[in-house]
Symmetry: C2
Subunit: 365 residues, 2 copies
């Protein structure tokens, strides 16, 4: 972390009114919802930059243009008549963990639970672009949403681009259903982009326009936000694939205000889920106070869906414990012991820690 | 407000880590969702005291007992075979507005948007109790949920009671659907109580047991929480019906961090919704900087559903404005100019204020 508190960050442990306004609108996935392999609608994390648009799906069109030979304007019915796939995908906010950093970027103050896994239904993106006949000198594809606001002094629609090589991945979809239902307003009704394995900022919601361009896109959400930098003057490195992370279903029952857990004496099966955008998770370890030990790990249901893990814990005595978990993926990336500090507060994937009180044997519970 | 900062409250404008943990789990209704007369699932406010239980609806039973002649144990199918009603009901959290108070109770730090209107489907409560044959000396009905935690040092399931006179209201329902879908986990799957017109704490989720009792229930959520008091030593007055409130759809577009609105020059139709648990709303007024003026007000779709209002505003010049709205109901209750301070931070229904920048005429927008 830097010696001085950079502009736009706060070194205070306390959260400001502006951060609270964002925390009251947006929400994480309550950690106990890790029990569900597919996150129920309403429990998946949500980050809405501006306002949720109210879109008339009948009047809506997807415009495909820019450096293509055949521009297109597609209705939702036309999109739905294309080949369909349904796939479970774990999505996470790039700012997950931000409020654990010090100093922290003043933005949505996420702790650790900004994640969810949904079954998305849609059609692959690239065949549509092939039909539009993308020019040979295309560099990137720009995706424009209907949500509009001011950020960093710039009035904008939410827009992000993908390099052509990313956009060609067969996993990249245009989706209109989540968990078997039409997309609800907050997830991008009637259509959103889905970029499996990347942080959620890439999966543009309320998608209205796809534009093929010859130069790297310089929009706010690409060139200024979502970049890993230590200093405001750096160009920085764009945030892309999801860093490995594991979370634990908090065992026992919570104390309302502190969320500290109370666990009865005796054996306690710790369970959770782990994921990475860089490849399958190959190991999860748990530390209950005496070092890291391997957990049992299930294979993923699909390439970009989280994996269940479990660890049988027998607390040696009543008292206070800190339980932690960490994941390592097939690329060799592992959750680091300390948060990787950066100016925007992205991708803090240091281990999840759960504070637990084990009740004395014989106590009611 | 008190001269000293009472125990369990904070006089700091900043939000603590414990409050943030709650704000990250629970969420309000993004204010732009006021556009929908029925709030889509996932946008309705949510306050979960403990953990969301994962309930097997097939194994679940509703137990009806206590001071009844015929105890019952009902399956969900048995409940669904009873007479059904579907009704739109506006629900609001009793703590809505808490974080605007100073000092404020250290709890879920709500601002103003903890509300939602859903179409709930279920069966009236009282006929079920009549069949169970309630004893003549019954005073209250206790409703016990499956959610369990520790609060105020007391380990508990979430439990609340209603006086018999309240429980007999034909509007009080046992509900299993919201907006035409089975209740999702976060709204009480498979069954919850619905007490229209009362703050949400009365509408017990994950309902498992109904117990008829002869004495006023002394459980934590009844005798200690959800009571209007100035001092911790007071018994206080229970919080019940929803105080009148109106909210405004923030006009224009937001600035990401501050949520301040940017509105183009020219006519601007202000719109919103208003409700009260004490009777229909009879007047909404808007103040754009030169005093309170009457808004146009629609009748409610149902007795406990919010009412739409609108007010044509023509900003006299570009610049900064604060827009406010307030409601008055048929009982004569009106939103007060200042928050009504109380220890638990309940029912702060002082007016909603929206900060707006009107752009100069001719500016892009």
């Amino acid at each position: 972390m830097p010696a001085q508190v950079p502009q736009g960050t706060s070194a205070s442990a306390a959260i400001s009114r502006e951060e609270l306004q964002l925390a009251t609108r947006n929400h994480g996935m309550p950690l106990e919802a890790l029990r569900w392999p597919v996150t129920p609608v309403g429990l998946h994390y949500l980050l809405i930059h501006y306002d949720i648009p109210m879109v008339d799906a009948g009047a809506w069109r997807l415009e495909v243009g820019g450096l293509v030979r055949r521009s297109r304007s597609l209705t939702l019915a036309e999109l739905k008549s294309r080949p369909q796939v349904t796939v479970p995908v774990t999505m996470e906010c790039a700012g997950n963990g931000r409020a654990r950093l010090s100093p922290r970027a003043v933005s949505q103050p996420w702790l650790v639970e900004e994640v969810g896994t949904a079954r998305w239904t849609g059609t692959p993106l690239w065949p549509l672009l092939e039909e539009a006949d993308v020019a040979a000198d295309a560099a990137e594809i720009v995706f424009t949403g209907l949500d509009r606001g001011v950020e960093g002094g710039v009035e904008q629609r939410y827009e992000r681009s993908l390099p052509v090589a990313q956009a060609r991945r067969e996993e990249v979809l245009l989706v209109w259903e989540v968990n078997g239902q039409p997309l609800p307003p907050q997830h991008g009704h009637p259509l959103r982009l889905l970029v499996p394995g990347w942080y959620g900022m890439a999966s543009v919601k309320w998608l209205a326009r796809i534009t093929v361009v010859a130069e790297p896109f310089q929009g706010y959400q690409q060139a200024r936000a979502y970049r890993w930098r230590q200093d405001p003057d750096e160009a920085g490195v764009p945030v892309g694939p999801i860093a490995p992370r594991s979370l634990m279903i908090p065992p026992g029952i919570p104390e309302f205000l502190t969320r500290r857990r109370v666990v009865p004496a005796g054996p306690c099966l710790l369970e959770g889920r782990a994921w990475s955008g860089w490849g399958p998770v190959v190991a999860v370890e748990v530390d209950t106070g005496d070092g890291w030990r391997p957990a049992r790990l299930d294979p993923p249901e699909a390439p970009h869906a989280w994996q269940a893990w479990s660890y049988p814990w027998r607390p040696p005595a009543s008292g206070e414990y800190e339980l932690r978990c960490r994941a390592r993926d097939a690329s060799g990336r592992e959750q680091p012991p300390e948060p990787p500090w950066n100016l925007g507060g992205y991708a803090d994937n240091s281990p999840h820690a759960v504070q637990v009180t084990v009740a004395p044997a014989g106590a009611s519970g």
